[in-house]
């Protein structure tokens, strides 16, 4: 028995193997799930559809809330994919607008402009042109909420 959004959900959960194949029975129906991932981010595939589940327990939730409340976070632009930094389009200290391209990241056949998720001042650039980066790597830190230049 688990509660989801306050509603009880009766669920039988059996791990088929150690790799992430799971058999679930719920309300008289059978589901073959595939699960994998890290403690805070679990990928589930059910009937060909893919679900990304973000998980946090009470303690983690409190910690995340404190982080957000402190005005930090949200200012770091991460690589959404592994690739190579082709060109930097901004400099440290530069004021950028939301949507303005910060750099070009190349992966396989594609060159992708990585844009600023919000306006701000470029506080730090973590990468250099020609550098290979992995998915999730820090690219640029934006100081947000800072008054734009003159």
């Amino acid at each position: 028995m688990v509660r989801v959004d306050g509603q009880p959900l009766e669920l039988s959960y059996e791990e088929v193997d150690e790799h992430g194949q799971v058999s679930a029975l719920c309300a008289g129906r059978s589901y073959a799930l595939s699960l994998e991932g890290s403690p805070d981010r679990v990928s589930v595939t059910l009937a060909g559809l893919h679900y990304e589940i973000g998980l946090e327990d009470e303690r983690e939730r409190a910690a995340h809330a404190a982080e957000r409340g402190g005005g930090k976070g949200g200012g770091i632009v991460n690589a959404i994919m592994p690739g190579i930094v082709v060109e930097l389009l901004v400099q440290q200290g530069q004021t950028v607008e939301r949507g303005q391209p910060l750099l070009i990241l190349s992966a396989m056949k594609m060159q992708n402009e990585i844009a600023a998720p919000q306006g701000g001042v470029v506080e730090r650039i973590h990468v250099a042109a020609g550098q290979a980066v992995s998915a999730g790597a820090k690219l640029v830190t934006l100081a947000v909420g800072v008054a734009a230049g003159p």
């Binding site: 028995m1 688990v2 989801v4 790799h19 060909g48 679900y51 946090e56 959404i80 994919m81």
Partner: protein, 506 residues
Amino acid sequence: MFQRILIANRGEIALRVIRSAREMGIECVAVYSEFDAHALHTRMAHVAVPLGGKLPSQNYLVPEKIIAAAKATGAQAVHPGYGFLSENARFARAVREAGLVWIGPPAEAIEAMGDKLKSRQRMQAAGVPIVPGLTDPVADARAAGAAAQKIGYPIAIKAAAGGGGKGIRIVRDAAGLESGFRTASGEALSSFGDGRLYLEHYLDRPRHIEVQLLFDTHGQGVHYGVRECSIQRRHQKLLEESPSVVIDEATRDAMGEVALKAGRAVGYQNAGTVEFLWSNGKFYFLEMNTRLQVEHPVTEMVTGTDLVREQIRIAAGEPLGYAQQDVRWKGWAIEVRLNAEDFFHNFVPSTGTIRNLRLPGGPFVRLDLGLYEGMQVGLDYDPLLAKLIVWGADRAQAIARMRRALQELNIGGVRTSAPAALAVLEHERFQKGDFDTHFLEQLDLGKQHSEHDALVAAAAAIWRQRQATRQALAPRSGEREAWTERHRRALAQHTDRAARREGPAR
């Protein structure tokens, strides 16, 4: 017939060729990079030769190494697969000059079809309809403006040396021509080292329809009907089918005849594909692919022909042994490309280690794959992991079967294109056959599933807890401290505690 051939490729296509060759009693030589020492093609060949190096430029793209491997192992012929050196005329010639047989078209035909403008000129001269526009490069923006006026807007500005969607600009009216010309020229120069541009009329709601051809070395040629490849994005195909809802039998035969004419005009031999754009009931030559194509299995499924076997027979000098009227079509086939890419994030490449595989089966389901448990998926090679192909008595049955097979499938460790393909198959417009080459780009992949959100979130929470328990049982140094307390408790209680969905389900 050959006793031994070398396959100058990797991944699913190398395995595909090995399988046909084995059935023919031919021994196979695989070549492999450092990265591919455990790959399926390396394991399933009779002989495997290491080429060294991790990057394709150090192995699969080095003609000298491949030819040396063929000589050293006594292979008599080379099958290039697709990609890599398959459309490299210099390699085809080098293979021939080394006294080996090239399982593909003559180098001269590869060259004739390799240049966009030259092939347009050749096709026009042969009476093959080409997309209206120029067959010579334009000198500058002013000349382009004058030509565009004559051809009629909208206009596609294309790089003469182009490919893969690079160096193409669509211009709707005269005002946009100059800037379009400038950016296309820059992109063509940086991508291909050749800034030459030409103009084509940009067709309205185009569909990508292609014709499979086989020519033997005795002057006999047949077409194998059409494939519809309009479900694509940035010129990368996701889903192909054969035949096509817009092509009736008479049109199929007419396109087949035109395609054969195109092939004959360049002295074609072996397997090749003529690509057409189809718009408002008319079809126009786009280009010819002088190799076996990724999507060849859908043709195999509806015609009952092993195209790789035919390629090898033709290369060995055997006559086709049948004529056009002997080619028969039955039912409908669909292929889905399973690429390592993340459709949640605009199809960016996805990397990781393959695990948690669950492969589909059942009636009329075919899986051509190159992946295996533990395979590292990086950025150095093509993202195509596998191809899922189904056959049905009609299109509706094929769609239902593909949906079923995709629902059975799981590839863990990376994101794949499977959910995107499923979204296409479930779309009303796709099911009706009402789509063009822009369909996938316009498809909203953001909104999906809600029915099982609660179940999935609960399962994820339980999974996390079980993982934590398992890790607590086998503690290792460097484990996250934050876990410890929670895990000890879970372990002590030894029960399935209530797991609550805390985070947002996405």
